[in-house]
């Protein structure tokens, strides 16, 4: 070469031994330090030749490399360094190039320009895999350039972050695809000019852009320079055909639109439903709409639906009243200021609203009152009962219906006759007593009820009901005759026979009912000491009467814990009667009662009060008995369909039991007379948990009057018309609809209601209930 003298020669071999890359590098650096600016390197595969030669300063430095350059030719090259490699180059030409111009007059293998940031690399042939990868563009400098005459290898331009690559496609190793397999994955910046076909590139990272005039101008100018550097200027005319060139540039973060993906909705419409048919997977099996519904939903999509169950359930007071008086309705009338109606209403249910509800009844209604569940006093019905002494009987319908004979003028008989008469039937009471009233008038001590109250109510009864005063006991024939003369016969004769004690000396005793009847007329002397065998409520009455007659030392004994309760028990205890149990009687002597234990309870009078049993001798054979009592069905019909039986003859019970039995039997008879069938009782008692007692003042421990009682009745199951549901409904779904006259109802609009249950929770009366919505499928 003619310029041999001008180039300082550094050989990579010394005495036939290859220099280590470290030694060659030292010698190269030393030569530059010594002022050499034209250096020729005879390479033997040494690493990184031509890089890092900053000691050249601003003066151009020209390195010629002959032989086999090793890996990373010109790596970390500096601006001003020009490296010319005469022949093919190994991997990573221009790695981390920071400004050098590197010319490869042949092919370059993998990794050309990897991480290049400045400078130019000119390759006169093809490049291997991963060229122009991870390149940079520092804003302080011009962008780096890679020029390739042929084609790029696979994975070209991965993570390219700047610079310009030009692939000319001349004599390409892969003429069908000058950009190689999977180029430009992860490209974020820079441009690639190329000439020739490509096999696809990462469209999510890069896109084809039109070549502008300025681009073209730049390309033409620099193309000439490239061709000159690699000594192929003859190709210029062939390459400056603008339409042969294309340009790819990186997408910015803003337009990194992922390759167009079909949306799921679009897929469902045009692929899924198209293949399966309209309606999709189960469109052939159901026509149900499957479109989404909200979680908090209204209408048919609610989980729960409020139901206004006004008067749907029986309140506990009414349910527990054997007579069946709707106590809560009476308190409603009180609340509404309709006191007369509240009082009169009772007579539809009982002929003795004052005597029984006000005095003689243990008031099961109060015992079951919902208020008890919150430790609040039950509403006091005895006040309203006592008030009922002034109740006026309703105008009677003409007695044009059936004819019924009632045997027995006690509370049961009077009740059934009373009800039948009010229903327009003729009911005649047959009784041995001169006066109606049975045990009420003959046995119950006056201490329990003022005589005038009972008399007034009995007078009210007498004014309504005819009474046949029997002079002798009825026989079987008489009953058959009555059956012939009347449509129905009701047995209400009570228990006429005392239950007897089977011990020695029982003759020295007196039966409780005989004692009470005699005591009531003050025609018995009980003595100082009285022993009562049987400590039930009748026994208590005996004790109270004995005390009234002057007895001081009264003992009631029983074989078990005494069953007495209520007013009777309280009064007996109040007069100082002693209750003892268990006590088993061995015999009765003059001293009194001798127990099995040998103990003697001294007594001047021994009263046997262990219950009564019916006298059934007069009953016809068609009426079946059970354990001495008459057997009846749920509406008090005996085995003889024309004969009913009520009261103690069926089962000993409370006055209210007898009155209730009379009412039910009357109802059954009435229905049969009208050609219907008796109805079984169906009224279901309201669940007390539905009642909201929190509204009531817990500080009230007793009631001052009827108004306060009415106000504190929870009205279980019956709307108080307070409007709290309408107010609390968060959806404004509830409204009050006024009907004709007094009728009204609260309704919930299904289109607004979400089924939250606030109405049901807030309702003081438990009228609203939440029901599971109807199944949809």
């Amino acid at each position: 070469m003619d310029d041999q003298q001008q180039y300082h020669l550094i050989s990579g071999r010394e005495q036939d031994i290859r220099l280590e890359s470290r030694v060659l590098e030292e010698r190269l650096q030393e030569a530059v330090s010594n002022g050499h600016r034209r250096i020729k390197v005879e390479a033997f595969g040494q690493h990184g030749i031509g890089g890092r030669l900053w000691r050249a300063g601003n003066k151009p430095l020209h390195i010629k490399v002959v032989g086999h350059s090793g890996q990373r030719l010109g790596s970390m090259g500096f601006s001003g360094t020009r490296i010319e490699n005469f022949g093919p180059a190994s991997d990573d030409v221009g790695w981390l190039n920071a400004g050098a111009e590197i010319i490869v007059r042949g092919n370059a293998s993998n990794g050309v320009a990897n991480a290049m940031a400045q400078g130019r690399i000119y390759v006169a042939g093809d490049i291997g895999a991963r060229g122009m990868t991870m390149t940079k563009q520092n804003p302080r400098f011009d962008p780096p350039e890679l020029w390739v005459l042929g084609s790029a290898g696979d994975y070209f331009g991965e993570f390219m972050a700047g610079g310009i690559a030009v692939i000319c496609g001349v004599e390409a190793r892969t003429p069908g695809n000058v950009l190689g397999y999977r180029p430009l994955v992860g490209m974020v910046s820079g441009r690639v000019f190329f000439r020739g076909p490509h096999g696809g590139y990462s469209k999510s990272d890069a896109r084809l852009m039109p070549i502008t005039d300025a681009d073209w101008q730049w390309l033409k100018e620099n193309l000439a320079r490239f061709l000159e550097a690699i000594g192929r200027t003859g190709l210029y005319e062939k390459l400056v055909e603008r339409e042969h060139w294309q340009m790819i540039s990186a997408r910015g973060p803003g337009d990194k639109v992922v390759s167009k993906i079909r949306s799921i909705s679009e897929f469902r419409r045009s692929v899924w439903n198209k293949e399966l048919g309209e309606g999709g997977l189960v469109g052939d099996l159901t026509d149900m709409d499957m479109s989404p519904v909200p979680v908090v939903a209204t209408g048919i999509f609610r989980s729960f639906v409020p139901v206004w169950e006004n008067r749907f359930y029986t309140p506990p007071c009414q349910a527990s009243c054997p007579t069946g008086i709707p106590v809560h309705e009476r308190w409603r009338l009180v609340r509404e200021g309709r006191m007369d109606e509240a009082v009169d209403m009772a007579l539809s249910y009982t002929p003795f609203p004052a005597s029984v509800c006000g005095y003689l009844c243990p008031n099961l209604c109060m015992e079951s009152c919902t208020r008890n569940s919150a430790n609040m006093p039950p509403v006091d019905i005895t006040r309203l009962g006592k008030e009922s002494i002034r109740a006026q009987p309703p105008d009677l319908p003409p007695a044009e219906g059936g004819k019924i004979a009632v045997i027995g003028g006690g509370p049961a008989g009077i009740s059934v006759a009373w009800q039948l008469r009010m229903a327009g039937h003729e009911a005649v009471i047959f009784d041995m007593s001169e006066k109606l009233g049975g045990k009420m008038s003959s046995l119950i001590p006056e201490a329990r009820i003022p005589a005038d109250v009972l008399e007034a109510e009995l007078e009210r009864v007498r004014s309504v009901l005819p009474h046949v005063h029997l002079q002798q006991r009825l026989g079987k024939d008489d009953i058959e005759q009555l059956k012939a003369d009347y449509d129905f016969v009701v047995m209400a004769a009570g228990t006429a026979k005392p239950r007897t004690l089977n011990v020695a000396g029982k003759g020295a005793t007196i039966y409780a009912n005989d004692f009470l009847a005699a005591a009531r007329e003050n025609r018995i002397d009980a003595g100082q000491k009285v022993a009562v065998i049987g400590a039930g409520n009748v026994g208590c009455d005996v004790a109270v009467e004995a005390a009234r007659l002057g007895a001081k030392d009264i003992t009631l004994i029983d074989v078990q814990k005494p069953a007495s309760f209520g007013e009777e028990r309280r009064m007996a205890e109040a007069i100082g009667a002693v209750f003892r149990w268990p006590c088993f009687v061995r015999e009765i002597t003059e001293q009194g009662v001798v127990l099995e234990s040998g103990e003697v309870i001294e007594a001047d009078t021994v009263v046997v009060s262990i219950g009564d049993i019916p006298d059934t001798d007069f009953l016809p054979g068609s009426v079946d008995l059970e354990k001495g009592f008459v057997k009846v069905n749920s509406y008090f019909q005996t085995s003889d369909p024309r004969v009913f039986a009520i009261g103690d003859i069926v089962k000993p019970g409370l006055l209210t039991d007898a009155i209730g039995a009379g009412r039910k039997a009357a109802e059954a008879i009435n229905r049969q007379l009208q050609g219907g069938q008796p109805l079984e009782e169906t009224g279901q008692v309201i669940d007390s948990s539905r009642i909201t007692l929190e509204y009531f003042d817990p500080r009230i421990t007793s009631f001052s009057g009827l108004d306060q009682c009415g106000a504190n009745c929870a009205s279980c199951g019956t709307c108080r018309d307070c409007g709290v549901c309408e107010t609390i409904c968060p959806q404004g779904a509830i409204s009050r609809k006024q009907g004709s006259k007094e009728d009204y109802e609260y309704v919930s609009d299904p289109d607004l209601c979400i089924g939250c249950g606030f109405c049901a929770a807030a309702c003081p009366c438990g009228v609203w209930a939440m029901r599971v919505n109807e199944p949809l499928e």
């Binding site: 999709g280 048919i300 929190e694 509204y695 929770a761 499928e777």
Partner: protein, 544 residues
């Protein structure tokens, strides 16, 4: 509770319950949303009485006692209406005024969930968070020892094979002689495990299937899904999507007459047939679809009358031994598609799994074995089965794989592992661990429910009421009010998201191992665990 009410042995207070509702009077706006959506009626609106006392000690004033009413939300304490912690109340509350909290101590409720002698049943998963799979680490990070791979940049072959793979010489021989070559499917190694149409709602099922079809047709991922035992909708059977479906047959044989009727009209073969013998969540226990879930749709697909209980017995009635069961069932099912479809059994994880496997190795038609470990999920099972029965998947799978290695057949019979994969959210890590322990692929169910449909269940007793058809997300309900809360398109989209992200994570695991040309099945030298006993048991590295 009423102030003077009696208490019984089972009377509980809020303190005794596992989930306790915290309600703020201050924040509550009384909108009723929470009580409207509570699936189990655990909360109810209520009226409260608040007593006030105004003290006064001066002679001129007297202390005053008064009270006022306020409205709010109350938690019920009756075990029948216990809060299940689903948190739907919190989800719908506009003011964040309500939220269930976990009790600070073990609850007392658990002692009372057996009223009437009825042992507790529930759906969901084993109440035991975490697990061994989460402890396994991938300790082989190649960097320089193998070709450095980049999960984001490189291409990976992540597909696996489902089917009996013949040894090469045998395969060549049969090719030459035109003999029968067992069918083999190239599929994605993450399979959606069997969840029946019936256990799942129609919207959930359609969403899953649609997502799978999308992944196959739009994303090029050959994902497969098992039908579970409940038949397959007739339209799907007659569509090209059937290719993506593994039809399951189990002891109830529900829906199979419809499938048989569809065979002549099928456009494509199903991916495979899975014969279910056991379920990891309730080994040895059968299934029961309650009559109230058997509506018109379910009845049509299962080929049964509406409104009847559908029991799947614990065992197939006409099989008396493992040899017979496997031979008979695999023969029958293979024959149905003229031996073109792979047929494999699925068993619950058990210490007797090797007996099953050894049988399969001798059966030329067996296409693989799926094993469902103790952490598998279910729509309904006895609590005792869920919490105490079953075998952990890792060691069961590992034993089976090493047994195959001993027989030299590890590349011939693929093993599929299921049960608790991704239970703590580590789907790809758990799946990769099992693959490297020897699984050719994994089956997931619960993860899918959580990721694709927002299932609220947890391993600490949250929700898990799939069995009573009241799923508040509409995933396991047959009530349109509930299942129409779920949009199948959302489910499908989430399935796609789940698979695409799983794919990335799986690459992130296998790339550093230097594996890109095949799934690293059995590459257990890449695994380590800091538990010495577990390391010894699984024969992987003990690393601390």
């Amino acid at each position: 509770m009423q102030t003077n009410a009696e208490i019984t042995a089972s009377t509980l207070s809020i303190k005794d319950l596992p989930w306790q509702i915290a309600w703020s009077m201050e924040k509550c706006t009384l909108c009723g949303s929470c009580t409207a959506v509570c699936p189990v009626n655990a909360i109810e609106p209520a009226v409260f009485r608040k007593r006030t006392v105004e003290a006064a000690i001066n002679a001129s004033l007297r202390p005053v006692s008064g009270f006022k009413i306020y409205y709010g939300v109350r938690q019920r304490t009756d075990p029948a209406y216990r809060c299940v912690g689903c948190g739907m109340c919190a989800m719908v509350c506009p003011n964040d005024a309500i939220m269930p909290y976990r009790s600070d101590e073990p609850d007392k409720l658990r002692f009372h969930l057996n009223r009437g002698g009825q042992a507790q049943r529930r759906g969901g998963r084993r109440n035991s968070p975490g697990g061994l799979l989460d402890q396994i680490k991938f300790t082989r990070i190649s960097m320089l020892t193998d070709p450095a791979l980049d999960a984001g940049r490189h291409e990976f072959e992540l597909r696996t094979l489902l089917g009996r793979i013949l040894p090469p010489e045998e395969n060549m021989k049969r090719l030459r002689e035109h003999g029968w070559i067992p069918p083999v499917r190239e599929i994605y190694p993450l399979i959606i495990g069997g969840m029946s149409f019936g256990a799942l709602s129609p919207t959930m099922w359609e969403g899953l299937q649609m997502g799978i079809a999308y992944l196959n047709e739009e994303m090029g991922m050959p994902v497969r899904i098992s039908t579970g035992e409940g038949g397959c909708p007739p339209r799907l059977l007659r569509s090209r999507f059937l290719r993506y479906v593994i039809l399951q047959i189990a002891s109830g044989y529900f829906g199979w007459d419809e499938i048989i009727h569809a065979i002549p009209e099928m456009k494509v073969d199903p991916c495979a047939i899975e014969i279910k013998y056991g379920q990891g969540a309730k080994p040895g226990d059968g299934g029961l679809l309650m009559w109230h879930k058997v509506n018109r749709l379910i009845a049509a697909i299962r080929g049964v009358p509406m409104g009847v209980n559908l029991p799947s017995p614990p065992t197939h009635q006409t099989k008396y031994s493992i040899e017979e069961a496997v031979a008979k069932m695999i023969q029958s099912m293979s024959m149905a598609w003229r031996f073109r479809v792979p047929v494999y059994p699925k068993i619950s994880g058990t210490s007797t799994a090797l007996a099953v496997l050894n049988n399969l190795t001798r059966n030329p038609y067996a296409a693989g074995l799926a094993i469902d470990g103790e952490d598998g999920g279910t729509g309904a099972a006895y609590n005792v089965s869920l919490d105490h029965m079953g075998h952990p998947i890792a060691s069961c799978l590992r034993d089976c794989y090493l047994n195959l290695v001993q027989l030299g057949q590890q590349n011939e019979i693929p093993l599929f592992a299921g049960g608790g994969i991704g239970k703590s959210g580590n789907l790809a890590a758990n799946a990769a661990a099992l693959i490297m322990l020897g699984a050719s692929g994994v089956q997931v169910g619960k993860y899918v429910m959580q990721a694709a449909a927002g299932c609220l269940g947890s391993e600490t007793g949250r929700c898990n009421i799939c069995n009573i058809g009241l799923c508040p997300k509409g995933i396991t309900s047959q009530d349109p009010r509930l299942y129409r809360r779920l949009d199948p398109e959302d489910v499908a989209q989430r399935i796609v998201d789940m698979y695409v992200s799983f794919d990335t994570e799986l690459r992130k695991i296998v790339a550093p191992l230097g594996r890109s040309t095949s799934l690293p099945i059995g590459m257990s030298d890449a695994l380590g665990i800091s538990d010495k006993a577990a390391a010894d048991r699984l024969r992987i590295s003990y690393v601390v």
